[in-house]
Symmetry: C2
Subunit: 295 residues, 2 copies
Amino acid sequence: MSELASWRDGTAKQAIQAFVADVDARGVPDDERVAVFDNDGTLWAEKPMPTQLHYLLQQWAAAASADPELAATQPYTAAVSGDFGWLGGAIDKHYAGDDSDLGLIIRAIVRATDGVSVEDYEASVADFYAKAKHLTLKTPYSGAVYQPMVELLRYLEQAGFTCYIVSGGERDFMRPMTVEYYGIPPERVVGSALGLKYTDDGTVRYGADLAFFDDGPEKPVRIWSRIGRRPLLACGNSNGDVQMLEYASGLRLLVHHDDDTGRGDVPYDKGAEDALTRGFTEISVRNDWASVFAT
Amino acid sequence: MSELASWRDGTAKQAIQAFVADVDARGVPDDERVAVFDNDGTLWAEKPMPTQLHYLLQQWAAAASADPELAATQPYTAAVSGDFGWLGGAIDKHYAGDDSDLGLIIRAIVRATDGVSVEDYEASVADFYAKAKHLTLKTPYSGAVYQPMVELLRYLEQAGFTCYIVSGGERDFMRPMTVEYYGIPPERVVGSALGLKYTDDGTVRYGADLAFFDDGPEKPVRIWSRIGRRPLLACGNSNGDVQMLEYASGLRLLVHHDDDTGRGDVPYDKGAEDALTRGFTEISVRNDWASVFAT
């Protein structure tokens, strides 16, 4: 694992090793060795749709079957009919700057947990991970994890780094799987957050709002809030990761899904040339990874 | 340090030791051993005023001297005249349920950092801690730290606990001193937060708002947001800590400043009897601590 066994001896691996050697040579203290990773499309696959949408489809379909009026609106219609295209399109529209469909999704996300305790949601999500299969890989979602990235997390930890997830995905949907899938504990999972409230029965419950969407310029803000340090390394795969990468003072890694397996994730749409001018180091899935998933 | 040397062999020390023995006997995994501590009045003195007000007085006096119109308003008038009574009264009024003066303070707090980078503020606060003297103890603020509590932090850590600060005080005002004073790194400091924004020059800066005031029912919310676990142990000293103590599933410690040194901090106003009915374990400064400050 720690030897980056799934990485080809290409430019990305060499850049990572040179970065760690430089940090060591400069004697950077361990507590400044902070690395941040996007999740969807960076640590695991986000096609044909983000994992959370799969979970929500189940929740929305159940809610729609109990409420015909609800079933006539999006995203419940899509959930009942299995129209994944509408959902994937909402994400594509977001990355193109149009958040109209995303707004409907966010409203339905909030509705699914309004008033639910954090423990009950945690149990529901854990149950999903225990039973669900990735829609195209047909494996449990652990099979959608990018093996080279797990090796990179361990490689950095062995070099004294502390690794965090900083995702546009919802924080408490990730937490039930991050220890098992990535070795990242819940206190190091940063993500979009539903509003929370404390109720007199001693319980923290979700409210009727989205507290923040952890994407784009929000990512550096959430990194500072949670960690209180500027990261040395950041790794992402999409336009929503650009500010996080710029915020990192050292190595800025951009995963480029240029393989031809049909797993291609949400692209960083400026392409490799622009990434180079920004000082990002491209991770080419085709050229830098010897294998993609754990076998 | 780890032997609770500054604690008398009284009820509080015995309760702490019994709690840790029980956690060990039940084989609770280390990652579930989470402890949360209020800061002002719990880990260090908050009289004659919270430390941050001392810092802000300096900032406000400087701002008022450059702007006579500002100098005619509170809290700038208090800062220029050295009328600490108005400021202390604002906190007392808050704990009595009247936030009118606190509102003026919050507006001035926000104004002091609006547009400032987190790094510049960090440097300014670090400079304050390096130079300022506690107003009555006449020592650096490290001398206002409660020695028994530092010993408790180390005692819990040796028992596999991870300790967090969860304070009504402002997060980034605490972070520059928590490693040195308490051995708590910035990622484990939770507190009230100024709004943040990311600017195109790759910098995180404070905005013109208070994001949230981490007090009362907000404390369990922020504990879940940051840590993603319910703590086993919580320790506080005031009404603002009640919900945090209720949220802890194991030992709930309430520091009671019943000594006669004039250091008495903001009280938990329901008294020891009510604390007992809530299942809180009282830490009597007079009876449970052999010494208060490091000498």
